[in-house]
């Protein structure tokens, strides 16, 4: 049984069909990349999976449990956590308190949660910024904070929405390694990214969306050479980027 399975997901906003008949499966331990041009419906898909939007049709199951109709907090507690494309830190709270909110999902006692939060911050490399208010962090740090917060909920599956957007090459490299480490620790990951090199390097498989529909699916090498994908999105320069 796959960890996450989506079947026939559809969502329409007024005149726009944001997601149409989307189906895919993600196996335990897998890192699945989700790519596609802007407006292809990737974030909408995330919102559908994490309970922020209700699909017009289709189903989602996580470890066999149906998710449609559950509120986001319930889905988080089941083990599916997400980050936001435009980071949403709690601005007036410190980094530690931010992550603590996530940790409280699994450790009801504030002291235990704080300890866990400190550990997670260490893991993402923000240990020195524990006491800094989130509003005072740089973008790269805030992205890591967002990641740390979601991690603190001890998810089985992590949905990352463009965690590398806006980062310079050095920061991107750090993030890629961080994600790799998290994955190695046993967290399955579904990754939306525009940074092709990162996605190709990290993912086992890639899913390509365009105008709300799946147009291709397969290992990075296959995707990089897929005619439909190149036509819709990648462009010639990316042919051959994927590891052989």
């Amino acid at each position: 049984m796959s960890l996450l399975e989506a079947r026939g997901l559809s969502k329409r906003f007024g005149g726009l069909q944001a997601v149409h008949d989307l189906s895919f499966a993600l196996a335990e331990g897998e890192m699945l990349g989700l790519i596609g041009p802007n407006g292809a419906g990737k974030t909408t898909a995330f919102n559908l999976l994490s309970g922020f939007l209700r699909p017009d049709a289709g189903s989602v199951s996580f470890r066999g449990r149906p998710l449609v109709g559950l509120k986001p907090h319930a889905i988080c507690r089941l083990g599916l956590a997400r980050t936001f494309q435009l980071v949403r830190p709690f601005p007036r709270m410190t980094a530690l308190d931010n992550v603590k909110v996530g940790a409280l999902a699994r450790h009801a006692h504030p002291a235990a949660a704080a300890a866990r939060a400190a550990a997670v911050l260490e893991r993402v490399g923000l240990a020195g910024k524990q006491g800094v208010r989130a509003a005072g962090l740089t973008l790269a740090e805030r992205k890591r904070l967002e990641l740390a917060r979601a991690l603190a909920t001890e998810p089985t599956l992590l949905l990352l929405d463009e965690v590398m957007a806006g980062l310079n090459p050095a920061e991107t490299e750090t993030m890629v390694q961080l994600i790799g480490r998290i994955h190695a620790d046993g967290v399955s990951i579904l990754l939306i990214e525009h940074n092709m090199r990162a996605v190709m390097a990290l993912s086992h498989r890639i899913l390509v969306l365009s105008f709300g529909e799946r147009i291709a699916e397969g290992p990075p090498a296959a995707i990089a050479n897929h005619p439909k994908v190149i036509e819709a999105y990648l462009g010639e320069e990316y042919v051959g980027t994927a590891p052989a």
Binding site: H73, F84, R88, F90, V101, A105, A108, A113
Partner: protein
């Protein structure tokens, strides 16, 4: 900080022995409005759900206890809990309606104001509740009926109430409940994504807040011996309630207390000074200006500013 608090408490406990009756009255008002402000703080400051209709809970609590006492002879010591419970029910209804239907910010404020006004109109028009003239409580001076000859008894009760509310707020602050409320205040959506059942916690905050406020209603009724619908349910009362935490620091433990120590004497002074020359409403203008000033220049409130200034002074070698 702890020792300072303890010292302050001891001073407050000893004060009535040396203060004039008028000064004691001022302190009663300081404590009482700080209490109401602290109760509001739980849902308005910590959880960030602005309610401009908390007067409704004062009204419900006060009227219930007063009616139970007048009609059934039930001692307010018990009646206050009935009043508080009813206030909590109202709070739950408002909270559920508001939060379940996703009313945020402005819309929620409007909802709370609407309910408070409905309460005011109802109390003004229902003869059984005294109608527009209000309810009166005959003075018997019987402590078992929550009435005291000596002002100082009210002083200690008001202080006890303040300590109660502050204690509750402190307990909330330290637990998961408090962290979750802060998260909700900062960003509800992000909080949901982290496993926080925002509806449940907002509702809980509302229940606690309205319950405590309702208790205060009974104190109000049996301190003033009368309940006027416009005074108890009206906007000016709601303003008095929210002003203290906002000026002192919403979402902080000492904010409402600091705010009350600043505002109550000021209010009394301006009421006294302006009232003499027949200038009605001047103190409300002052309140309005203060609100504007705080929003523009001191949005976090006085206490956080003060705390930072003190910390800086301590840090200087």
């Amino acid at each position: 900080m702890r020792w300072g608090g303890l010292a302050a408490l001891l001073v407050l406990l000893a004060l009535p022995a040396v203060l004039s009756s008028y000064a004691v009255t001022i302190f009663i008002l300081i404590f009482f409005y700080a209490y109401l402000g602290q109760a509001w703080n739980i849902v308005g400051g910590y959880a960030g759900q602005l309610s401009a209709g908390h007067a409704a809970f004062v009204g419900v609590g006060g009227y219930t206890a007063a009616m139970l006492s007048n009609e059934l002879g039930l001692t307010p010591w018990v009646g206050m809990f009935a009043g508080a419970a009813l206030a909590a029910v109202l709070g739950g209804v408002i909270g559920y309606l508001g939060f379940r239907f996703g009313l945020r910010g402005f819309y929620f404020v409007l909802l709370t104001v609407a309910f408070a006004e409905v309460g005011r109109i109802a109390a003004s028009n229902i003869d059984a509740l005294g109608g527009a003239l209000g309810l009166y409580i005959t003075f018997t001076g019987d402590p078992r009926q929550f009435q005291f000859q000596d002002n100082r008894a009210y002083y200690y009760i008001a202080l006890a109430l303040l300590l109660l509310a502050t204690g509750v707020a402190w307990a909330i602050e330290r637990r998961r409940f408090g962290a979750y409320l802060a998260a909700i205040r900062e960003d509800e959506g992000a909080a949901e994504a982290l496993g926080v059942d925002t509806l449940r916690y907002k509702l809980l905050a509302m229940l606690v807040s309205s319950f405590l406020t309702g208790l205060g209603g009974t104190f109000y009724a049996f301190y003033l011996f009368s309940l006027q619908p416009n005074a108890v349910f009206g906007i000016p009362m709601s303003v008095e309630i929210i002003l203290r935490p906002i000026v002192g620091g919403a979402g902080t433990l000492l904010g409402p207390i600091l705010g009350s120590f600043i505002l109550t004497p000021l209010g009394e002074l301006s009421r006294f000074y302006f009232g003499q020359s027949g200038l009605y409403g001047a103190h409300l203008i002052a309140y309005g200006l203060l609100l504007i000033g705080v929003v523009l220049f001191l949005p976090e409130g006085a206490y956080p500013r003060l705390a930072r200034a003190l910390a800086r002074r301590r840090a200087r070698p």
